[in-house]
Symmetry: C2
Subunit: 592 residues, 2 copies
């Protein structure tokens, strides 16, 4: 009865049977569990190079080709020799999920105490139960700690659950396109899909294995779900130009519209490889996965985790949208756990994590994150970064402000860098023994560079708030040459002295003598080399702070300026006489 | 066979039979048509006060209660005595749509040449066919021109089609939550719904009228469609707090989750009042409605229209999103047709147009738009606007710049006002005989005020472009005291001289002597009364233009300054000597 409908062979798969009964989270038990799994690469002698891949709702153990002649895997873009999950370095495992229909115990298995398949009598299982089975397999293979657990969608839920349930067994965790709970909208789509299966007259209350299977219902469920895996944008691109030119296919479903024939094809193919009872079982587990509606419940659920996290979300994903991933990240941030996050620009919707052209940057981040997790044995190859020498830098051959910032910084203090760019300053601080370190950055390419450096980083816009960081969670909050580009200056300053004992802010002084004189004499928005080198109509600057203005704002907001350094960057000298006139750069240490 | 499943009585409905065969757009014909309709209010002697309401997919002729004892109507929030569509002033008509199941000819009618209902043999009909039937009814009632046609969703498609097909019969047209074509995503959901109906074994190829009807399939289609009528946000609010506490209902559908029991209830109720063949017929017509994928096709489709248009869209609507409505508006704008547009802040998704708390502003706009359409016989009651006296006004008792703008303006010239606010200046221009006039404004409340004044207005953000306006489509493009709040100054200036023969731009001069001196002396971002009265950290201004800076930008961009007036607003005198130093306000006439 195992996977009677398989289309791709699982000829590299192995099966292991756990004879110990499994108590299930929602009650009931399974007397024994068959686990179908595949592996790639070699386990190293220290047994420290294992990566567990968790598959999504309709996936299976066949993540990647084992050789040229093998069937394609569902994540060939990421897993293989020389790929981001490099099977020449790592030992990769993937098992078919509990409740699935591709070799692991599920509704299509016979109850060991009976003769017929479980069918609809298969118990309600949870993501935790799935993880429990994977844990048994890992134990059986003699692996005490996973270098990494990775998964997207339902696989992401499993990865999160690993981090929570087995903190000692997980060094790092990579979660793609996942959330703490599916949205009510997402559940609603699943409900309609399950109702379609159950109302197919062939469903026979789930005991259809001796007769025809409920193919129409399962195909309908798949068609509907498939829409939610795509995006409005990607469907527009794919189907709008040929709206009334359907593919010519043999199908019992409507194929008036091109999108209809596409869905019909997807539905028809799906029923060849998937079991309707498994679909109900797994989609119900997906809907029941719930780490809490409230933030404090969610934080409680995540509190046992000790691994390093990297979350990736995708802008066009509306089923597990970035805001949902961000909620998980915020709950970890609120507990000062080690977490990085990037929202990847994409067009393909929820499926983005499976598609090569949406996963270029994601693949890079996965590779470098894993390399850093592997420790000093691995060399991280990132592009050799020139020192910052862009229009946003006020210093053309060096970041003079770095030196001033370092002067104000207590040794080895923990630091959050707001607007951290590629993580250069944080790298310098790491070399000097500062820890922990965190960057906040709004540009995804810069975020990826931080990940490559092994710097923890959150992809976020300062203008939209950094509310997740707890009060006084860092000794230092840095805002280096970023103040002038922030609209909500006052809010950000308040946040700086809330999240850190000391804020260190550097900014270019708009009241510098040459600027004043130029304005007075020429009557035009003044310019000078550096951050004020722009024309009035195209400057990226949104605010024009002078030292005096900044001081007054701090006073108004009850923010105390503990120390200040003023410099003339042309001469490199420190200014003590009338800095608002004579200095072009200010660095201040702030506290509440 | 008429509507055997009706739940609300249609006791005020009348039926009229058109004996003339109807040739259908997609081929085939119907030998005669029964039309079920209702009316409210009285037709005036001149027969100029008729409003035709077009209903959406699952609606019927019962728009509103006829009296206290009557069943609720589906648009009671808008239609009735004293309501926005005031039945004490207007004669309101609504007929059940062709292909429907509530009294008008549809699949549940018997073919006059046969004995059995049409069923699935009912021909494929189009929105144009629906409108043709409505036109016959209007002719039958002796009405030559409709004051207004109004509809949302599929009703919006009908309203648009009225404007195109019968330009002489439509004075104004009000379109809510509609588009030129449904998205491929939207069609995909409909396809799954229709497949669910057709795969219900009771469907019997549509000939189910003698036996049980395909209730499960129809209910599934309804549940799915219902999700697309709500929003992620509204579902979150409604179902998240009680996720696993379903309503206790009798149903054959899954009710594990609260959202599931809600959908089950909606599905079960729907099959009591709706016919599955009608659902297929109408949703197919909805999917086939297509005014063109390309902008030029769409413009061609809309070109016959001569009515005044008002389009309303809703921010949370993802089935017929604002961008889709905006595409229609842009195609009308491109042809210099009379059109207004507002994107209404809402939370309830596509259903927003049916819900009181999402339709406050929409109701106001509908009322005032209709009142203005009625001409001088009606009085428009809008709140008495004080003259502008807000921080954004540089003049505290009068808009001095208006006088200067009027001096530069050729008499009776056509004008587009970019950032028109509540339409005050355009009203003044209208009194002076300028025509046509158009406002662009980004604040929805201000847009509503323009509509109330009878000023054509487009709800849009200048920063996001005004590309739809054709080259040289106005004599004058105005930008009054708005320049300093625009980020993309250069783009907007280019647009101004593209869309109009003459651009008139007024702005506050940042190089005014007191500002220069204050900056020189005090070393702080200078302030003065008016538009520069803000602090450095909270000013809404994004740009700080001086007269010289502005002149140079024009020169760089090949924009010619034809005339300029500079004023010292404190004294009200015109400045000719060194205006960049002595004037605080500049008004310039620009051309390419």
């Amino acid at each position: 009865m195992d996977d009677p409908q398989s289309t791709s062979s699982l000829r590299h798969a192995q099966t292991w049977v756990s004879r110990e009964p499994l108590q299930l989270e929602n009650g009931g038990h399974l007397p024994e569990i068959s686990v179908c799994f595949e592996t790639w690469g070699e386990l190293n002698q220290e047994r420290t190079n294992t990566i567990l891949v968790c598959h999504a709702l309709s996936g299976d153990s066949h993540v990647a080709r084992h050789d040229e002649s093998d069937d394609p895997g569902w994540w060939d873009i990421l897993v293989g020799p020389g790929k981001p999950i490099d099977t020449s370095s790592y030992f990769v495992i993937c098992s078919n999920v509990l409740g699935g229909c591709r070799g692991t115990t599920g509704p299509n298995f016979s109850d060991p105490n009976g003769d017929s398949p479980y069918g609809a009598n298969f118990p309600v299982i949870s993501v935790r139960d799935m993880v429990e089975v994977q844990k048994r397999l890992i134990d059986h293979l003699g692996i005490r700690q996973l270098l990494n657990v990775i998964g997207g969608s339902l696989g992401g839920s499993q990865a999160i659950t690993w981090g929570i349930q087995h903190p000692a067994s997980v060094q790092t965790c990579l979660v793609l396109a996942a959330s703490a709970r599916l949205s009510s909208q997402g559940i609603a789509f699943d409900v309609v899909g399950r109702n379609a299966i159950r109302h197919d007259p062939r469903f026979e209350n789930g005991q259809y294995y001796d007769g025809p299977s409920p193919e129409a219902g399962l195909a309908l469920a798949r068609m509907l779900a498939h829409i939610t895996y795509l995006s409005d944008e990607s469907m527009r691109a794919k189907f709008d130009p040929t709206r009334l030119q359907p593919r010519s296919i043999e199908t019992g479903f409507e194929s008036v519209f091109s999108v209809g024939s596409y869905l019909a094809y997807q539905g028809d193919r799906f029923v060849e490889r998937f079991d309707a009872n498994s679909y109900i079982t797994l989609s119900t587990a997906m809907d029941l996965f719930d780490l809490g509606e409230k933030d404090n419940t969610l934080q409680g659920a995540l509190s046992p985790a000790t691994c390093q996290w990297l979350f990736l979300s995708f802008t066009s994903d509306w089923l597990y949208p970035p805001s949902a991933s961000r909620r998980l990240v915020d709950a970890l941030v609120a507990q000062s756990k080690s977490v990085s996050y990037c929202e990847i620009e994409s067009h393909a919707g929820h499926d983005s994590f499976l598609l090569e052209d949406n996963m270029q940057l994601g693949g890079q981040m996965i590779a470098t994150f894993l390399a850093n997790a592997g420790g000093e044995n691995r060399t991280i190859s990132i592009a050799n970064e020139p020192r910052v020498d862009e229009p946003t830098s006020i210093f053309h051959t060096q970041r003079l402000d770095y030196d001033m910032i370092l002067r104000l910084m207590p040794s080895r203090a923990s630091v959050v860098d707001l607007g951290c760019g590629n993580g250069e300053l944080l790298s310098i601080l790491r070399e000097r023994g500062h820890t922990p370190l965190l960057g906040i950055e709004r540009d995804q390419a810069e975020v990826a560079k931080c990940v490559a450096r092994g710097i923890e980083v959150l992809h976020a816009d300062l203008n939209k708030g950094i509310a997740a960081l707890p009060n006084q969670s860092f000794e230092i909050a840095l805002l280096s040459q970023t103040l002038q580009s922030i609209v909500g200056v006052s809010d950000v300053l308040n946040e700086i002295v809330r999240i850190a004992r000391l804020g260190i802010v550097s900014f270019p002084n708009f009241a510098h003598r040459p600027l004043r004189e130029m304005f007075m004499k020429e009557g035009r928005l003044p310019k000078e080399e550096g951050l004020y080198a722009y024309d009035w109509h195209n400057t990226p600057n949104r605010r024009f702070p002078s030292i005096l203005d900044f001081q007054e704002l701090c006073k108004q907001r009850g923010i105390f300026i503990e120390q200040a350094i003023y410099v003339d960057s042309q001469t490199g000298t420190e200014i003590t006489d009338n800095p608002n006139l004579n200095a072009d750069i200010a660095v201040m240490a702030l506290s509440r």
